[in-house]
């Protein structure tokens, strides 16, 4: 081993086996032996589990014994154990930032096959870290306070649950919902599987609790326009769209709706999936929260032309809740944490034309059926065909529409099997029709789910295993006359069947919102390749994101049913609370700073900063960075045309020495 002179750094290198995770592919002993030859390396070891207590003790002991002043650990992702090893360095009496971690698991053993090449890569990565760590300087951590208020985006069951949990704990919550009412998809459902309790009965009390809660500011018909800041200190601008109703003055009497110059509803009712008509002034549904009306600018004659008798205003009378001059309003609030609960959108059944949605009137999506079977729906719970009167005698439910399909979405939407069986039960109950379920596999893994499946089989609902090929009106026999025919290969019976039915229900899957990428960028979080918001760790940090202080809950993270959504919402609320209760959070010291005597005052950096941490000292005519606001993103460092901005842990010396060492053979 090299014995460096006094002024040179004394580096300790530790190669972790991670059981067989790394050692199964990489020859850890050989890496350690090679690393011992790298410049300034005094100690080089390999060990089974560096993150274990004995592993950490090894580092601490070596620091004392060998007077080490720099440590390199080649193991797993810094996301998992950087904190652990920095802690070990600190306990050993070393500044925790005189440490560099190398990921030879995710970046090496897990992605390569066993062999010399994988071992060589571990050596290269370790050599780069050894070269880099020599330039590390001792740094100090800073803390930032956490603003106690929370913003929740999305007012479905996830957002509602999280909002109530936090508000009940005494935190102030801003709940922002894009639609005119909270409630989300759950508000459209009649019953919930597998217990068949009434969705409205369990949801609407929560909705009104949100509306009435003193700790919740509810902004419906609103969208987040801008997000600035960082954990503990987010500045969010919310755009409140004009509903042409003064919220505080409207009592939800609906007299304006009755009085509207349109005597009958004329426009597609979004809440009923277009199965009924509404007026330009309307309340989405009777239990809407907030329980107030809104005016749709696209269809209201007065908003569009200004030429209307305004019978609504007359009906509102002294309350004067209608205001046609209302404009979009921007609200800026300060919050410490944000929970995204933006949900999903249903798969567009028209993307699979062979299933006939939009072609044959009696092909429905599952959400339309949810409204049809709902007692407060457009038909008051009567399941009838599009003609509005005929009860179907036979119904076919097609599973996996837009799920488990290479042509559309590969994922299982997780809820369709169960809601299809629920709808099968309800349809049978309402109409006594023959109901056929066409499934690939029945996925019923939740509590009471398999029992529900058994119950349905006992009820006489038919289950046919096979992906439906097409829905057609091409009739081949007398019994198919006037019916829709479902063609499917029955993979259990082993032949192709034609099943004539009156009504087809397409069990559409769940997909990310069309604008999920925009939302993700706005909040600076990541998405999986499918477009679902990405959790920090699939098992151990399922509601955290890679951005501190931003959490995710519900179907925006991936398809899930109501119990899982509620559980996740509670978890997200707990994570937010844990930050709030801690009161402050330790910040990485990887902040940027300006070397004033090298700054020409060109101002290039100022607009670059996403955290508005940079300002100009007008006396000295140089840029100044507020280190408390700096998040260490490095944007200004790259932008500074004269290299006068430097960043802790990302000094040019540190980066270039790392690159040079990795390229050197």
């Amino acid at each position: 081993m090299n014995e460096p002179t006094k002024t040179q750094p004394r580096i300790g290198v530790y190669i972790c086996h991670c059981g067989t995770n790394i050692a199964g592919v990489v020859d850890c002993k050989a890496v350690a032996e090679t690393a011992a030859q790298y410049p300034n390396v005094v100690v080089s070891r390999d060990y089974k589990y560096m993150c274990s207590d004995p592993g950490q003790a090894l580092i601490q002991q070596d620091i004392k014994e060998h007077k080490l002043d720099r440590i390199v650990v080649s193991s797993c992702s810094p996301l998992l154990h950087e904190h652990t090893f920095r802690g070990a360095c600190e306990k050993g009496g070393l500044n925790p930032y005189c440490f560099q971690m190398v990921n030879i698991r995710e970046h090496d053993s897990w992605v390569h096959e066993k062999g010399a090449a994988a071992t060589d890569k571990a050596k290269d990565l370790t050599r780069a870290a050894v070269s880099r760590v020599a330039h590390h300087k001792p740094l100090e951590t800073k803390t930032t306070p956490i603003h106690p208020d929370v913003m929740i985006v999305g007012g479905g069951i996830a957002g509602i649950q999280a909002a109530l949990t936090l508000a009940n704990a005494g935190q102030h919550v801003y709940l922002v919902e894009r639609e005119p009412t909270i409630g989300g998809y759950m508000a459209k459902f009649d019953k919930t599987f597998p217990t068949l309790d009434c969705a409205a009965c369990i949801l609407t009390p929560k909705m009104s609790a949100v509306g009435a809660h003193p700790n919740i500011t509810l902004w419906t018909y609103s969208e987040v326009a801008k997000v600035d800041g960082f954990v503990g200190n987010y500045k969010v601008v919310v755009k409140r769209k004009p509903r042409y109703i003064i919220e505080d003055l409207c009592v939800g009497c609906n007299e304006c709706v009755t009085a509207c110059v349109f005597k009958e509803g004329k426009f597609e009712d979004e809440f009923n999936m277009g199965l009924s008509k509404r007026k330009p002034v309307y309340m989405p549904f009777p239990q809407a929260t907030p329980p107030i009306v809104l005016i749709d600018p696209e269809t209201c004659i007065n908003v569009k032309t200004g030429k209307c008798k305004k019978t609504c205003v007359e009906a509102c009378g002294d309350r004067q809740a209608i205001d046609f001059t209302q404009k979009a309003e921007m609200k800026e609030v300060q919050v410490g944490t944000i929970i995204l609960a933006t949900g999903f959108q249903p798969f567009d059944a028209k993307r699979i034309p062979q299933y006939g949605y939009g072609i044959y009137p009696n092909v429905y999506t599952s959400l339309e059926i949810e409204r049809l079977v709902n007692a407060s729906g457009p038909t008051e719970g009567h399941v009838v065909l599009r003609d509005g009167k005929t009860k179907p005698k036979s119904v076919g439910i097609v599973h996996c529409v837009g799920s488990r399909d290479n042509k559309t979405h590969r994922w299982c939407s997780r809820v369709c099997c169960m809601y299809s069986m629920k709808l099968a039960h309800l349809i049978k109950h309402h109409t006594d029709a023959e109901v056929f379920n066409f499934y690939i596999d029945i996925r019923a893994p939740g509590k009471g789910y398999e029992e529900f499946y058994e119950k349905l089989q006992e009820e006489g609902v038919h289950f046919i295993r096979g992906r439906v090929a097409e829905v057609t009106d091409w009739q081949m026999s007398k019994e198919e006359e006037g019916k829709l025919v479902i063609r499917v290969e029955d993979t259990l019976a082993g032949f192709v069947r034609r099943i004539p039915v009156d009504m087809v229900v397409l069990a559409v899957g769940l997909e990310p919102h069309a604008d999920s990428q925009d939302v993700r960028r706005q909040f600076n979080i990541s998405c999986s390749t499918e477009g679902w918001f990405l959790e920090r760790h699939p098992k151990l940090a399922p509601v955290n994101t890679f951005t501190d202080g931003i959490f995710i809950a519900g179907a925006c993270q991936g398809p899930k049913d109501i119990p899982d959504t509620v559980a996740q919402a509670g978890a997200a609320a707990a994570e937010a609370l844990s930050l709030i209760k801690a009161g402050s959070i330790e910040l990485e010291p990887n902040t940027a700073f300006v070397v004033a005597e090298e700054c020409s005052g060109c101002k290039t950096c100022i607009p670059m900063c996403p955290y508005t941490a940079i300002s100009r000292d007008d006396v000295k005519k140089v840029a100044v960075i507020n280190e408390a606001l700096c998040k260490g993103c490095g944007t200004c460092v790259a932008a500074c045309p004269s290299g006068a901005i430097k960043q802790n842990l990302f000094d040019d010396d540190e980066i270039t020495s790392e690159i040079e060492a990795i390229l050197a053979k």
Partner: protein, 321 residues
């Protein structure tokens, strides 16, 4: 024999502007000529290579060498002058960072030869004759220098003590350097003899620069009549002042022309062009591809804009094959 300090000037791959900049000292040139003994200056005085070879090593106090190193002859002279001089100064952009000749590194030597001796529209050369390093005519043999594969800055060929930047250097920089030499008050070896701070610091228009420029398009100087009071970058001209070493008193900007970067980068910047690219990209507003494309259209020659004087010192060096 004179006891005045001996000074040499030499000219490699450059335009000759640096030589003129010496004369630009105006009446101060008399002070210089009076204070030193010019022992080598082929451009202005009749000395031969053999005269230099005859001098004892380190007998020249300082040689100011301008121009990049492109040919074997220039390389040989650089080595010779290095040996004979106590202090070797890279004078002007070409010696400092490769300069405009360095832009040739975008092409291989073969591409350049082929274009110049075969494809250029003004070339008539049916036999495709190329210059040879050795040829004989009428029984006499001649030797021509060889073109090297790449253009290099002086310090990529020999050890350099100081740099005087600029295309060409301003008389003030030259005068200050000569005075420093005469007084012996020289900064640490390797220094650029100009302030380590960007042009904006000296620019009178700095205060007129808005904090957020967010340019949607870049313009070229001939496309607009620039407001002589306002920051040129804010007017859409890709002024490189923020990314370029100052010390020039922002003379180009005073002349209502944007800075093109001739003083090279400040000490902290390793790759001038990459830094310029990074900084200009930062000032562009576009986030979507179509907006970015529109903005980029205002810079039709990116290498010539970002690396006008520094391609030889670019981390990527040049085209290999």
């Amino acid at each position: 024999m004179s006891t005045k300090p001996k000074i040499g000037f030499y000219w490699c791959a450059s335009c000759g502007g640096c030589e003129e900049s010496v004369v630009d000292l105006a009446e101060d040139v008399l002070m210089v000529v009076g204070a030193v003994d010019i022992v080598f200056w082929p451009c202005a005085m009749d000395f031969k290579k053999a005269d230099v070879e005859a001098m004892p090593d380190k007998s020249i106090v300082a040689t100011l060498l301008n121009g990049a190193i492109r040919s074997s002859e220039q390389e040989e002279m650089a080595h010779l002058l290095r040996r004979k001089s106590q202090v070797l100064i890279a004078y002007g952009s070409c010696a400092h960072t490769g300069g405009v000749p360095g832009l040739a590194n975008q092409f291989t030597r073969e591409q350049i030869m082929k274009y110049v001796y075969e494809d250029a529209p003004t070339m008539v050369n049916d036999k495709k004759t190329r210059p040879q390093t050795h040829f004989k005519e009428d029984g006499r043999e001649t030797e021509l220098p060889q073109l090297r594969n790449v253009v290099r800055a002086l310090d990529q060929v020999v050890d350099v003590d100081y740099y005087i930047p600029g295309c060409p250097p301003t008389p003030k920089l030259l005068k200050d350097a000569v005075l420093a030499l005469l007084s012996g008050k020289l900064p640490p070896k390797g220094s650029v003899l100009a302030p380590n701070i960007a042009v904006c610091q000296q620019c009178k228009r700095n205060d007129s620069k808005p904090q957020d420029i967010s340019l949607t398009e870049f313009k070229r100087p001939h496309q607009i009549i620039a407001d002589p009071e306002k920051c040129l970058l804010a007017q859409g001209l890709p002024c490189l002042g923020p990314a370029t070493r100052g010390g020039c008193d922002a003379v180009c900007i005073q002349g209502n022309m944007p800075c093109t970067g001739c003083f090279g980068p400040v000490d902290n910047v390793h790759d001038h062009g990459a830094k310029i690219l990074s900084y200009l990209a930062s000032t562009a507003a576009g986030k979507e591809q179509k907006d970015i494309t529109k903005t980029l259209a205002g810079i039709p020659d990116p290498v010539g804009t970002f690396y006008r004087y520094g391609l030889a010192k670019c981390v990527l060096r040049g085209k290999v094959s």
